[in-house]
Amino acid sequence: MKPDRSVGILGWGAYVPAYRIRGEELARAWGRDWKSAAGIMVEEKSLPGMDEDTFTIALEASLNAIRRAGVSPSEIRAVYVGTESKPYAVKPTSTMLVEALDAGRRATTGADFEFACKAGTEAMQAAIGLIGSGMIDYALVVGADTAQGAPGDPLEYTASAGGAAFVLGPGEEASALILASFSFVTDTPDFWRRGLVKYPSHGRAFTGRPAYFRHIVSAARGLMKEVGTTPDDYDYAVFHQPNGKFPLKVAAILGFPREKVLPGLVTPKIGNTYSGSAMIGLCSVLDVAKPGEKVLVVSFGSGAGSDAFHIEVTDRVEEVRERAPLLSHYIERRRYVDYAIYARHRRMVVMPPDVGAY
């Protein structure tokens, strides 16, 4: 898919909470053997502070993106938040962002998107359409989550918290051009969560070939065919990263060498930030990429689908990079907790009624 008007990323920003829990500690809580879980290549994951949630994460990531974009919030006419851990089941996080950022003199469009881990990149597709058609000039899109894995479940090792935001706008002002995108979706029940249930369910091995791999490969090949590129044309490949293993495996299937994937692979250090995953990976690349370099970004959301983007970095990327904290600043900022404190942060403990709500 290509827009009529050139669209790009003006500013990018990420946020990861300070708190970490090690994989070994998660294994210890359930009497599991850490070595067997180590194969997923996630050493430790982030968890939100007791006073953090998807909105607060989205806000800081957005402020970082806006600093780099150099655009006044009053110019932003669309705000989209992609997440599967909305603070309110009904009440959009996007309007809270509009207010907190004082965006668009309130003449904005905005809503929350849900598509499991690719909600944020779906929002990007929509924003590209608004800008590419000339309906608006600037949009803010966020992918953020405070993901929850069921206690004792394999996903508990990786479900983490974090988010990324992009200010999109006209290509002439961009730090990275989004030249084309491609989406591929099917009805594949690999991972889901019913309405009033606290933790998601998943199909275990079923989440592999028929889900993650099928959709990423289809979207990546679909995009490269439309644009006329091969893996050799790209300097970086960023994939949705539920663990450290899958992105390297899908890279191999598609023909991308490890070196092109590693700069955008952050899950081993912070876990899987769900809707933030691929977008944070892109932030990691934009923190180091040089003008002229090309990036392939392919997200994956369960349920299922993938969005692929062909991105070319411009000269502007180096001018604006230092305006906001690099992702590495957030990754290096670490406070370790044990499972008991983790359970307290994640609201897994039943409190007496007179404590009230929390």
Binding site: D51, T56, E60, P87, E99, R333, M351, A357
Partner: protein, 136 residues
Amino acid sequence: MWSYRVSPVVFWRRRASLYRLEGSRCSSCGHVTISRRVKCPRCGGDMEPCSLPQRGRVISFTVVNTPPRGFEYYTPYVLALVELDGGGRVLAQLTDVDPSEVEQGMEVEAVVRRVRVSGKGGIIVYGYKFRPVLHP
């Protein structure tokens, strides 16, 4: 009891202060305060809207061990009086910091965080807190 809940109206009315540290400045004596108000508490002069600086220093702090309703789950937490760069003081919680790390004079910056919730089904109250400066 009233303190289990926060009225959505009360939160909404203060959203500009809570999200963006908007307050007032006195056109006579220059006193800066986080509240939106008509008259200056120091000199009685007329106040006009202004945005408060987002960075400052800790003037004094304490650790709350006996919380009011709504804050039990988060106890203990640090409360500080922050003097903002360029004027004005604000009372706020400190976050992302262990109480033992807090010192008078410490440099801090504003962030928006969950302050409390209003009962199980009520609104989430967001507002300003301060954390040690992340990125100088």
